[in-house]
Symmetry: C2
Subunit: 409 residues, 2 copies
């Protein structure tokens, strides 16, 4: 099978690039922002609205979905796409990040992690084999390898051990991934025994199982240690993943440290595979990552901040609850083409947010996601036009973050 990723343009002044990733549920133009749909819903949005916004791909969280509603329910529904009514590409994380950040850990072994659900305390186990099986059941277009994400700060010895474990688990995931993909399994000499069927198929139309090619990305870890990042990247590349993520960023470290992890990882990743920086970031950060050669991003900021009344615009961020918006009859962002800005005023949205009305959350989510997706569209156009460096410089120069009470960015 041809590589699912096609590199279309590479910027001459930065490492920015434009590409096209083909998945079982459609094409993703990169650089791409993935809206986060943790619990089988991008918070406050309906799937048709995501389409209207031009969302190309969304993210689902294996850990949350295995706890609620349970993988059996999603399997019966015919996979995550059918369950949530989204027929576009979905990337699922492996659950590793949540196991280490949300759950109460019980025991870590080479086979995986025993932990307790953060919802009801149920005892669960997740390792590379289980994470791959879960993602096969979800039927996502892109699965992520099961990894260990260390906290920040983290000493060198712990980071080193974590990279070891992440690489062992990556190898197991790669093997399980080949096993679950019939064509790959054939190439690998039919190592899979009787396991193709439950893992390698997903019911796209209820009752009619359809073979699906699920892409698998490896995750570069290594904390703040350049040589660990390099080693992790090199060994993952040797395993030949469909794409590579840079994990363990945006875990509390300063922005410059985060950018450095991308700088030290990217040179060791192949140009012909997509690069996904996990859990990042603000609008200027996305441009900084793109300039460093990153292609894909996910972040809860546009959706989570919306629920806190925070508005992102192409010229900065502000808090809608501020008194200056009380009788402001202008849109959330002047000139914005989104549904919220075309139909409602700041004064109205501010009123809704003060009253904790669902429509307020909806309109801010709509607008914020529009801005994130619009930035990606503009970035792609700038790269194609050979003007990305100027685009980034001008964007950052006019981007003002207004003082506020809620989380900073």
């Amino acid at each position: 099978m041809a590589s699912p990723f096609k590199l279309l343009h590479t910027d001459s002044k930065t490492a920015a690039r434009v590409g096209r990733l083909t998945t079982a549920h459609g094409v993703v133009e990169t650089p791409a922002f993935m809206a986060v749909g943790t619990q089988a819903t991008v918070k406050a949005m309906a799937p048709t609205e995501l389409r209207t916004l031009g969302a190309q791909i969304i993210l689902g969280n294996t850990y949350h979905l295995m706890i609620r509603p349970g993988l059996d329910v999603i399997q019966q529904a015919g996979g995550l796409h059918r369950f949530m009514g989204w027929d576009g590409p979905i990337l699922t994380d492996s659950g590793g990040f949540q196991v280490f950040s949300l759950a109460k850990l019980r025991r870590i072994t080479p086979d995986g992690v025993e932990f307790q659900s953060h919802v009801d305390g149920a005892k669960l186990f997740l390792g590379p084999r289980e994470a791959m099986a879960a993602q096969a059941t979800l039927g996502s277009d892109i699965a992520m390898a099961f990894d260990e994400c260390v906290a920040w700060p983290c000493d060198r010895e712990s980071a080193c051990k974590s990279v070891e474990l992440t690489l062992q688990w990556a190898a197991r995931c790669r093997e399980a991934g080949r096993a679950s993909c019939p064509s790959a399994a054939k190439d690998a000499g039919k190592k899979t025994g009787g396991r193709e069927s439950p893992l390698g198929t997903t019911s796209l139309s209820r009752g009619t199982p359809v073979l699906q090619h699920q892409l698998l990305f490896g995750i570069v870890q290594g904390g703040i240690y350049g040589e660990l990042r390099e080693r992790c990247a090199r060994e993952l590349v040797a395993m030949d993943f469909d794409g590579y993520a840079i994990g363990g960023v945006s875990v509390g470290e300063p922005e410059q440290e985060m950018l450095r992890q991308v700088d030290v990882s990217v040179p060791h990743l192949p140009a012909d595979r997509p690069r996904y920086v996990m859990g990042v970031g603000t609008l200027p950060q996305l441009l900084a990552m793109i300039a460093r050669g990153a292609d894909m991003f996910d972040c809860v900021l546009p959706t989570r901040s919306a629920r806190m009344g925070r508005v992102y615009t192409m010229r900065g961020a502000y808090a809608i609850k501020n008194a200056e918006n009380r009788a402001d009859l202008g849109p959330l962002e002047k000139g914005c083409a989104c549904y919220a800005c075309q139909n409602f005023t700041r004064a109205y949205v501010r009123h809704l947010v003060w009253c904790n009305e669902i429509l307020g959350h909806r309109l801010l989510t709509w607008h914020n996601l529009h801005v994130y997706l619009e930035l990606m569209r503009q970035a792609r156009a700038a790269i194609v036009a050979g003007a990305f460096k100027e685009f980034q410089r001008e964007f950052v120069a006019r981007y003002v973050v207004k003082k506020e009470n809620d989380e900073s960015d």
Copy 2:
């Protein structure tokens, strides 16, 4: 001006009737259900979605809107329609019910009520004059007279005093209503001095004030005392309102008592004016009211219950959180044409509601409002077809309320 209400059909076997109420923002076919938009939003819904649902008219709450965002903000926005982006008819209540049920009362005088805001404790005053001025500022299509709604149970003496006050206030509202309507003011011999302009106009398109004819409904009170209801109705009718509401029902009394208040009030109301039963009710109750000659209804049940996971259908009500829905791949209601039922399963909606996801509230609200509006459509068709009695009997016979944990109905 011709009467805004045209009676089109009267049922031969019951008192049910079909009519057409013409307002400044459009026509309302009756019997009509009005979705409640307390804080300038029908909870969880966007205005375009209400249109898609076939909502003909919605309700706004003067008390809540004067507290948040404040009448000055809505005035600057050009009225409630423009503020909330809904260009169809709006009925506003007078604030009386909320003053007596939500606020901390300070003092009742013949001029009105001094009270403290339930939000921030601010000292406010609302009486017939203020309520009419507020509703003129909101620019609603139908204003309600300022009344006193007594609690249940209520002794005869208190109910009698309350009717006295309600009638005094109704007369003042009627006078203010005539004053605020330029044509009526002319008829009334220009009693209004210089007050036409601020009360009688509302800015429909920003910056371009347009004269608007606001209808005014009187409210029949009297508790459970038939002779008080009769007296109140007769005196209100003598004041010649555009429509008549039956208030002080659904305040905790048994259903039979509620129906009796409609029975004793309706005979004293003119056939050529719409009759609005306030704050009612379940689907079978709506049919019972229609059979008694009622034309308009509002109730928080479809929207509030949605947020509690309660599903209304044409065959009964159930709790989506129940275990039996965990892996149910059918729609919320079999055969339902609404957006939620056409696109999502019970299993998915149950999952969303368990996770307290906004989309869960949205889908249940969408469906519940669809059912309420659909029942009105079917009731109108049945009345026109001369088959309302059979329609009601069959509906009630198959309507099953499943046991659940949340509020009963």
